[in-house]
Symmetry: C3
């Protein structure tokens, strides 16, 4: 390969692949409705915010309660999250990861429909056990108003 095509990465390819793998695992847990193991992918005080609903949940305990309440909506469908266009950056011990998220839902007969598209911003940290976990997640559901606020 010519010298001019050499890569100039901001994060190593190994870290990139580890982050892809982190999300692959986390989304299986979410889409399989394994709430207990899903909340373990956040730090103990981790948060999930949905600014368009002016809503934020903080801490695994509250996350578990909130998700448990919403569970009945999800038992008769298979929800799948599809991610794309990851950008990774780091600042000290924090890893900032942003990406697109598309949600589909399959019904009892396997018919699939689109539910939402969103832009997500995560802050990940590596904890003492060597695992990456999410300290803060912000999910912005796509609407023209959310993406391009007017004045």
């Amino acid at each position: 390969m010519s010298q001019s095509l050499q890569a100039s990465p901001r994060v190593s390819a190994d870290l990139y692949v580890e982050v892809m793998t982190f999300y692959a695992r986390q989304m299986r847990l979410l889409d399989e409705l394994d709430i207990d193991r899903f909340v373990q992918t956040f730090t103990e005080d981790g948060s999930v915010a949905h600014p368009h609903r002016a809503e934020e949940v903080r801490g695994r305990a509250d996350m578990r309660v909130k998700m448990g309440r919403a569970l009945p909506e999800y038992v008769d469908v298979v929800t799948r999250h599809w991610f794309d266009h990851f950008l990774l950056d780091h600042d000290g011990d924090e890893l900032q990861v942003t990406y697109y998220s598309l949600v589909t839902e399959a019904d009892m007969d396997g018919a699939v429909r689109l539910k939402t598209s969103s832009a997500v911003e995560d802050v990940l940290v590596r904890e003492d056990d060597g695992q990456l976990r999410i300290r803060a997640r912000v999910i912005r559901r796509d609407t023209p108003e959310a993406v391009r606020p007017r004045g």
Copy 2:
């Protein structure tokens, strides 16, 4: 980058990228209806199972026959397979790869619709010519019953 963000990979980034490239090629062959070259991406005795239809095809020859019969359903549309959330693991000479798969279909006018979402489990091996090939594929179409079987 701080020490604590160093990656701890299970497979090398190079192998991960090679596997992504394998699927990129294999899906072009499938979506372009190039059955002969598609079946070459499986080992000679490779298998494809659809447990929800209690169906399994084994060997390139049978795969070719079965796909040839189904071909008329696909000539007036463009099918595209979209993959996500890859997990790679290895056990001796086998590479286990699992991922999400979303299928879309474009019609004569280019209008696109969702067909199915599935979870796929592949076993890959590297053959003597240096190429990765699939020894066994299991495709589980998403339905609540398939993902979360009840007692």
Copy 3:
């Protein structure tokens, strides 16, 4: 890992990740309707062709004009481009990248629908400032006729 699973890459994992990151940035600019910064991701004489419309735009200036005219169609929706199945190859100083592209559109209420699926071929070069930019893009919208032209 057994010797037989070692990767045999055509491009380094670092370059692969850099290319993924390039598209992640470029698509944010496009989907946020930031035309000025989007055209900067092409070389000064970069081109975008849509063969199915017998259309080609060449050069950042013309690209800006054309996109500016189309802008009113996009202000009341959120368009998202989803890419998959990247194949990278290089020839001297050029990097050839092909991939699938699926376009979704979210309306004022956040309802999402599929718009198009396409196959894209890009030629990238690294310019003197160290940045990858696109010299030529060809977008082939999926229709049976486009994918499998008949005699």
